[in-house]
Amino acid sequence: MSTGAEKINDLKAAILAIEWEITDEVMDNLTRTIEPLKEQWAGKKPLLVCLQVIGTLGQYIKKAREKAHPDAIKLLPDVFATLETVITDESMDDGRKIVLVRTAVDKYNKLKTQLAKRRKEPGRESQPVAAVKKTGVEAPSGAGQGGSTIRDLMEQKEDQAVDGAFNTIFQEMVSDDRAPAAAPAPPAMPSVGGVAGPDAKEVVLARVDDEEFPEADSLLDDFFADDGLAFSITEAKAEKETHAAETVEVDLGQIEVKKEKAAEPTPPVERMEEEEITVDKLARIIQNMKYGISATLLKQLAEEIASLRNQHPDHYSVSLFMEVIGAVGRHLVSHGDVAVDLSRNMLQTVYDRLAHSLFTMQPQKNLLASHLETVHDYGKWHEQVVAELAERAAAEPKRELSAEMEETVKLIVRREVDELRKELLEVIEKNKIAEES
């Protein structure tokens, strides 16, 4: 296999590059590296099947770009790993190798079915992933391979139009910046706000080398101090895992409760099997919040968002809407009494936009507008939340300040006093010198 070693390394590099960036160049390079291997392995069916799967996935990813199904991007290195094992592992017998390749092909077929399901619509037959041709190893037989359907084209158009419109807007914003006249604030950028305004002064910052700012340093030291907050990556992972475990426990709990009642286990919902994303449950949860926000509702909201998010990773606006709903929900979990009405309205508004963008094929401008409005609304909402939090902290400093915060404030005050004292001493010292001379 020594002759193949180098070429397979090229292939490996080409696949790794996709991890970083999906560009035409990277994808074409993948196709290029496959060709010589096909010739070299002529007649070796298992190897050819792997190559074919890699090639087909590559073409699909090139076409779909960042909208490609995440599993397609994950499958690519998987299939390569199989190929590498089959080539390099001399101790493995042929039967085992074929099993390995078959497993890879099965994964590919599963993905293909998923994609077909995801896109299954009346009159819609196009297959984003072409079928692998029949070969010695049982390769999948492709379902329909028609051309683009109307919906296909519409979706494509919409995406392109949105992208195009965004780019225009961005360009305008960016070039506004150079114009001397006051440019309108970009709607797409959230901002804590409150500082800019008639009283605000803009300061253009220039780097100052070799200077120190002890007050700033001590504030930073205080804020970023490690007291009790130490956090390592192992803990971070552990936290994630516990979190996941918690969710599972809840699910199990619910199933068990149901078991007791109905004596019949409810099978867990298989999300992947769903053809269409359904936001009915989300609608109910948000609707119910109007009558009162409870911990249970918030938990349901978080869970629903988490599961919906996985189903629709490739739709920018939908992701944005879900992110915002998720963020507002998390805010309510931690501060259930701050900006409640505003948050409720925000949830409803963004939900409406989400539902709208999922179920209607509105003219493209609407989606773009609600996308931008959502970002803008989020900024406003955020501003309000921060203001209310600050107001509350100011009104009831004793009760609001945690011991930790109190300690921090004390430290800052102490430092400022120290600083003053130092300055005072310096003045006295200077006066002394002046007097003496």
Binding site: W20, T23, H69, P70, I73, F166, N167, F170, M173, V174, R178, P186, A188, M189, P190, G194, V195, A196, G197, D199, A200, K201, E202, V203, L205, A206, R207, V208, E211, E215, A216, D217, L219, L220, D221, F223, F224, L229, F231, A236, E239, P313, D314, Y316, S319, L320, E323, V324, A327, R330, H331, S334, Y378, H382, V386, L389, S402, M405, V409, E416
Partner: protein, 201 residues
């Protein structure tokens, strides 16, 4: 341009994490957000596509406290690193006060680091800003990969490639493990505040 509101006694500072795709910008912010959750009190927003790529930007507002009676409000942003999103990157850079350039130590990313830094300089120019003047810190990220036998660039090579002319502070770190993440942020805030100092007094 930072904003200073004398009446409200507030200072608003915008820090942007910039760098090549998959270099670890979002991971930096994630770490800060997790570690200081209780102090930050507000929500981090990030808009990602699958595979955790930043689509528009991540946004994390942090109020660090007062200096000379001024509330210091820091806004942390990341840009999307993928080449095709330069319009977004330009937009995010608008009004930036300080930059952390997150470079990837992996040998294979050498070219991407260089290209990204060059483009950053150009993008800054389009906002009438100068990479040689704005507060800037470099972070050489993913040093933890050296234990996994992945070919990395040396610090000297990184310095040669990226910092020979700029001559700004740099940190070798691991956003994933949290090594030098906080130090990087402290440094850039501190540099930015130093440039602000005259206004604060």
């Amino acid at each position: 341009m930072g904003f200073i509101n004398v009446k409200k006694k507030e200072v608003q500072i915008k820090i942007v994490y910039y760098g090549p795709g998959r270099g670890g910008k979002t991971t930096n912010l994630d770490y800060i957000n997790k570690k200081y959750k209780q102090r930050i009190k507000t929500e981090m927003v990030s808009i990602k596509t699958h595979g955790d790529r930043t689509l528009f930007f991540d946004f994390l507002p942090v109020d660090i406290g007062k200096i000379h009676g001024f509330d210091i409000k820091i806004q942390l942003y990341t840009v999307p690193g993928q080449v095709k999103y330069n319009a977004t990157r330009k937009l995010v850079l608008k009004g930036v006060d300080g930059i952390v350039f997150v470079a990837d130590l992996q040998k294979e990313r050498r070219d991407s680091n260089l290209k990204s830094l060059e483009q950053m300089k150009e993008n800054l120019l389009s906002h009438n800003k100068d990479a040689f003047k704005i507060p800037l810190v470099l972070q050489y990220n993913k040093i933890d990969l050296q234990n996994q036998g992945i070919p990395l660039l040396t610090v000297e090579e990184m310095e040669q490639d990226l910092n020979q002319e700029l001559r700004v502070p740099y940190f070798v770190g691991s956003a994933l493990a949290g090594d030098n993440v906080v130090e990087t942020l402290k440094k850039i805030i501190s540099m930015t505040l130093i440039s602000f100092r005259k206004e604060l007094q």
